[in-house]
């Protein structure tokens, strides 16, 4: 924890710098898209957020497996502290996608495979949080949380696949995400930068949140009293 504390400001400022730099690059130094105009520039928020929202679930699944197999308490603290951040990024992805949808598709909501599975992911995050918070006995709550995360992690690919399968029939092809013009290299570099920067920022948030969890859960231990 103390090493993390020391590294934390470096990670934070570095990723903030990367993100702001790519944002600046993406917003001001790249040309307009000739189909979508300036509105496409929301991808510098939307793409990193949707990327992170799924990777966070994967991280939770790994941490849950570690907890169930080796009984490492820290890993379940990590699961619990990632869950709200995952919900938040999923929410950002949904909202930014929806805002993007207005100028490009002319509507807030489309029954598109990716959108639907992101919404389901969002609900699953909220379900995980409410499950954990409804038990007073932490050990029970931890067990149930990690089981549910693991079961969910088996399910998420299935949900994604089946939703894609479903939308191929119902969805008029003109408004799927794959229809947008293939991305140009000029836009790709700042996009990569923004993904890296955003990931770093989220990592900082995870560190802060897990610090909070550790202190909350171990508040009776003497080292926490010394630390606080």
């Amino acid at each position: 924890m103390f090493q993390v504390n020391r590294a934390y400001p470096y990670i934070f400022y570095l990723s903030l710098a990367i993100y702001l730099f790519s944002l600046f690059w993406g917003l001001f130094l790249t040309p307009e898209d000739f189909v979508q105009g300036n509105s496409y520039r929301i991808i510098y928020l939307h793409v990193p957020a949707s990327f992170i929202s799924q990777s966070l679930y994967l991280a939770m699944a790994i941490a849950s497996a570690v907890y169930l197999i080796w009984k490492v308490k820290l890993s379940v603290y990590l699961v619990r502290s990632i869950a709200p951040i995952g919900a938040m990024t999923t929410f950002i992805a949904l909202i930014s996608g929806s805002i993007w949808g207005i100028p490009t598709w002319g509507t807030w909501w489309v029954w598109d495979a990716r959108i639907v599975s992101t919404l389901i992911l969002f609900i699953m995050y909220l379900g995980l949080i409410s499950l954990h918070d409804s038990f007073n006995n932490y050990e029970k709550a931890d067990k149930f949380l990690s089981i549910l995360v693991l079961v969910g992690s088996v399910n998420i690919p299935i949900i994604k696949m089946s939703v894609e399968w479903w939308s191929t029939l119902h969805q008029p092809a003109s408004i799927t995400l794959s229809e947008k013009p293939a991305i140009d290299l000029v836009m790709l570099y700042p996009l990569f930068g923004s993904i890296i920067g955003f990931t770093g920022l989220i990592a900082c948030l995870v560190i802060l949140s897990s610090k909070l969890q550790i202190i909350k859960r171990e508040k009776n231990k003497s080292w926490v009293k010394d630390y606080v």
């Binding site: 007073n136 006995n137 932490y138 050990e139 859960r217 171990e218 231990k221």
Partner: protein, 188 residues
């Protein structure tokens, strides 16, 4: 002689708060142990640990019996919407040879078709205790068996337990009142 229960240095924590620690005892055939303690001292938890429902935070527990454990807890495991007779079936004691004897001792043999919900707390407890009286176990674990019982039923219970001890069974019980059973005692 090999002990039926051997508990060594058991301790238990809930949310990192200690409930009890350093519980050590051996129980050989024909012995009883009375567990004493204040409310919330962890008597029920200790009994659940011996049953194998709860895992101790630390310590070892070995039980040496290949028969089922007979456990009478706070919850009576009776179905409120079923009759006494159906409940006896569910308890798997419906065909036991001694069942009529105990039913008539407890004055329940006339009302076999009455739903459990219509019985008093003490009567329900008596039916739950049939699980004990008709048991097929070496190890009897009782959590506050006397709660709600009248004096007569308590006497029958104590007599039964003494007889079972003579038969070489092992009894582990928690109780607030002292029972007339030859037993060691353990305070937690």
């Amino acid at each position: 002689m090999q002990p039926i229960i051997r508990a060594h240095n058991l301790s238990y924590k809930i949310n990192d708060k200690k409930l009890f620690q350093g519980i050590t005892f051996d129980l050989v055939k024909g012995k009883a142990l009375h567990i004493k303690g204040e409310n919330g001292s962890g008597k029920t938890t200790l009994l659940k640990i011996v049953c194998g429902l709860t895992k101790p935070t630390k310590g070892d527990l070995t039980t040496n019996t290949n028969k089922e454990i007979c456990f009478i807890g706070h919850k009576n495991a009776l179905k409120q919407y079923l009759s006494i007779e159906d409940n006896l079936t569910l308890m798997n004691v419906g065909n036991h040879q001694d069942i009529q004897k105990y039913l008539s001792i407890f004055n329940l043999d006339k009302s076999l078709d009455v739903n459990i919900a219509n019985l008093s707390f003490g009567q329900q407890k008596k039916i739950a205790l049939l699980r004990l009286f008709l048991n097929n176990s070496d190890l009897l674990i009782l959590d506050e068996p006397c709660v709600g019982l009248d004096m007569n039923a308590q006497k029958i219970l104590v007599e039964f337990l003494n007889e079972e001890l003579l038969n070489g069974k092992v009894v582990l019980f928690s109780s607030h009142i002292s029972l007339d059973i030859v037993s060691d005692s353990l305070s937690i």
